[in-house]
Symmetry: C2
Subunit: 194 residues, 2 copies
DNA sequence: CGGGTTATTGACTGACCAGTCAATATAAAT
DNA sequence: ATTTATATTGACTGGTCAGTCAATAACCCG
């Protein structure tokens, strides 16, 4: 029963299923068979659309990264001054969506995956650089370059650091607590060098 | 040619080989066969001494964690005031040894492994809590409790955050730069609330 | 020396899995 | 209605790997 135009539907289902499976397994030790099953199709079809397991993982990564990118852009569009732009980036980074257990698990695993697979590393770098330059652009309007540079690294590391800690202890600080702590660090830095 | 007392020698060789293999592969996708070969023995012998691959990984984790723990204790023993104790923890966390590419790769992978294997999670939590309480103990002597608590989280997250970024871009900030940045954050906080 | 213990190997097994393929079904196009 | 293109399946293959085991070797003690 081939209703035409199934491809996008199947791809989306597979990407969602991949993220769910990674979340459930807590690792990338997930078989194409299981992913396909969760997406409601045979393993053969998954290969038909993606060609390989690696391509499935990369598509899932792209999906997560692009959701994140969209959220950052959305938040930046609303912010109307440099300080607000920093807040926008931080809040987007800890948006509810990125905070779902399965999303956190996927991020963490993709970080590791990027060590092995060059395409994955490239993807992650693009987003990492974009984050870095968004922060830098805003902070350079508030601080001397050297200080802006330093605070940019601090904020970027805090984002990653709170993320990884979240993955380890589910029972760590809440989304809003984390945001408040990072904001306080920024304010303290800005207040000290006006 | 069974020279007696081989067990500790073999175990050590296997643990070192495991960390090297993880570093080389950038993932836990490492076979017992390859580990054993690097350690100069048959795969059978690796199983003879450790029983399972999981036990090999856990032993490697324990080794890395205990090196880290020893380094923290060493540094704390020298520090003779609370502020110096914070520095001691930060410097121990970025000691050259922990900074070897293969060690960074192992840490990162063990973080992910802890999502899957309860024993690994337990190990990591013990060390994470020890780190947390070392920082907290020192900072409570310098700040009101609520602020000490907050700064503790910040420093802990910065440590993890800079670590994970290091794993992603080999070309990120250097060991000494990272330490200086974290120290600056601490000083800024202490300076603002004297 | 001979029985007990430790060391060590490599072959073997059972399971699992990524990716392929031939077969089938069905819609649209000519 | 025949062709053509898309959709879909599940069986199959080749390879890999964790863990087991029987066999062998060498030391130690009595």
């Amino acid at each position: 029963m081939p209703k035409l135009g199934m491809e996008p539907v199947r791809r989306k289902a597979l990407i969602d299923a991949t993220i769910s499976e990674i979340g459930a397994a807590g690792s990338l030790d997930v078989t194409v068979g299981r992913i396909a099953k969760r997406a409601g199709m045979s393993s053969g079809l998954a290969h038909h659309y993606f060609g390989s397991k690696e391509q499935i993982f990369l598509a899932a990564m792209r999906h997560i990264l692009s959701l994140y990118g969209a959220e950052v852009r959305r938040a930046l569009a609303i912010a109307n001054n440099p300080r607000a732009r920093v807040t926008a980036v931080v809040e987007a980074s800890f948006h509810r969506h990125n905070f779902d257990p399965e999303t956190v698990a996927a991020w963490l695993n993709f970080y590791v995956y990027a060590q092995t697979v060059p395409d994955a590393q490239r993807l992650l770098r693009v987003y990492s650089r974009r984050l870095h330059s968004n922060l830098m652009f805003a902070l350079r309007q508030l601080l001397p370059d050297a200080e802006a540079d330093q605070l940019t690294r601090v904020v970027a590391s805090l984002i990653d650091g709170f993320y990884i800690r979240r993955a380890l202890h589910k029972k760590s600080a809440s989304r809003t607590e984390i945001i408040a702590i990072i904001e306080a660090v920024v304010d303290r830095h800005l207040g000290a060098t006006p």
